[in-house]
């Protein structure tokens, strides 16, 4: 397995006193796609929300254990810095409705008051939109509002927005569940390209999607990490009974 830049060590997460993630140890290989799958309520969304410190925004939520990015414990540094290093794309596309496409892409910089020369921003916008496979479609309408795009385009805009911050890893929370099949396959293609330069973690409840796009898969059940391994091997010869039952649709 290639070296992992992102690891969790005994990571547990709580809502109040209720434990929703139990002591998870995972290593996410660099420049690969790792899928996290499992039935509803298994804790997969909570897991990735811990990774960019969004989990703690819920009142009463807490975590224990470590999250290491390049051997630096993310739980010990300012959450705002964490979120600049680890980007996130959500289930429903959420471009900022008051901003143009151009401004949406560099929103991470603008909102933080980070100034750059106009030419620099132009370059970032073009690069990010190209990486998100959206450049050709919007290059002439960069100053229109983001909400005029279709669902699939909006989601690619959100991906561009996350990429513009140059994160080391990007977390995708069921990014295609609100999209039609055509848009979904476009984004899956895009992920295939992106993983060459960035580590991708994707939560999905669509096992077929996990099989299509990931190199590694983690299966979670009731807050515990049941199995982790190479996708092909996990899907064909799962080691755990629960994994096999999930894959064969005994529960969903």
């Amino acid at each position: 397995m290639e070296s992992a830049i992102l690891k969790t060590e005994n990571l547990s997460a709580f809502f109040g006193s209720q434990c929703v993630i139990k002591s998870v140890n995972l290593e996410f290989p660099k420049n690969n796609v790792t899928a996290i799958m499992g039935p509803s309520g298994c804790g997969k969304t909570t897991l990735i929300r811990c990774m960019n410190r969004m989990h703690e925004l819920v009142p009463g939520a807490s975590t224990s254990g470590k999250i290491l990015l390049n051997d630096e414990d993310l739980n010990a540094i300012n959450p705002i810095l964490v979120r600049r290093k680890v980007g996130m794309v959500f289930q429903r596309p959420n471009p900022f409705p008051t901003m143009s496409i151009y401004d949406n892409v560099i929103a991470g910089y603008k909102l933080n008051g980070i100034r750059k020369k106009r030419a620099e921003f132009d370059r970032i916008v073009e690069e990010s939109l190209k990486k998100a496979a959206l450049w050709d479609e919007v290059k002439n309408t960069l100053h229109r509002k983001g909400t005029f795009l279709s669902g699939g385009q909006q989601q690619r805009l959100c991906i561009a927005r996350a990429l513009a911050m140059n994160p080391e890893a990007i977390l995708l929370d069921e990014p295609t569940s609100a999209l039609d099949p055509k848009a979904t396959s476009l984004i899956e293609e895009l992920i295939g390209e992106l993983e060459k330069s960035i580590t991708i973690i994707i939560v999905t409840h669509n096992t077929a999607q996990a099989a299509r796009i990931s190199e590694y898969t983690a299966f979670m059940y009731l807050g515990e990490m049941v199995e982790f391994g190479n996708t092909e091997k996990l899907f064909t010869v799962p080691k755990h009974k629960k994994t096999e039952e999930y894959l064969t649709g005994k529960f969903g």
Binding site: I80, R83, N94, M165
Partner: protein, 282 residues
Amino acid sequence: MVDNGVSFRIFKDNLFKWSLVLVSFLATVPLFLILFYVAKNGISSFSWTFITHLPKPPGEAGGGILNGIVGTLLLIGWSSLLSIPLGITLGLYLSEFREGFFSYWVRLCIDVLQGTPSVVIGIVAYAWIVITMGGFSLFSGGVALSLIMVPMIVKATEETLKLIPSALKEASLALGVSYSKTIFKVIIPSGLSGIVTGILLGVARVAGETAPLLFTAFGNPFVNWNPLKPVSALPILIFNYASSPFPEWHQLAWGASLFLVTIVLLLNAVSRVVIRKWKVQF
């Protein structure tokens, strides 16, 4: 085949409906009467002198309502200054922290304030400010009006911000933007149309208020900019002149009424346009 019983019921049904229509439109007649008479009587007062001169003593024709116009503008200014920051902040707080001890009390106070008759608010402002300052003043009038404006702005802000999906906040936070910046640069701009509407409607309401001003701003036959001294306002003028026995003053009151009604209706119309044009779609 329709038998007699049924056709009677159908007849009753239609009769009912048309009587509803009649009654409803009857209820709208006073509006037209008021607007018509105010316009008819007030238009003859309108002239450049009217807007730029002070009122003349009773018995002399002519004069203007400059003291009222400036006074109303100053009062609106002071009231907005006091109520907008506070109102938006409280509205923001209530939309972010819906549960909780503090929220409950703030909400309760705002509700009580909203339901308080304006004359009672005038008494409160009198007790707090006029007595402390030892006299009537523009400032006390501003305070009284801000007590009326604050609940309106709080409610408008809270309602607008509640409608903004939390996904927006999350998107911003996930980019590593701090909480305060998220609020000021993402959430509030998205809710701006609702907040501005609340402010416009608050101003429209407060421009027409009389009772609280009677014992705070009190009135002044001259223009006054000094916040520590009494000031006039259009509603005060209308009240005083309408109740006086002098026909010249009545004429001024009609003109002032036309002026005031136009401003208030204009503000209401603008706020509707704001809501439609600025409203952010999600």
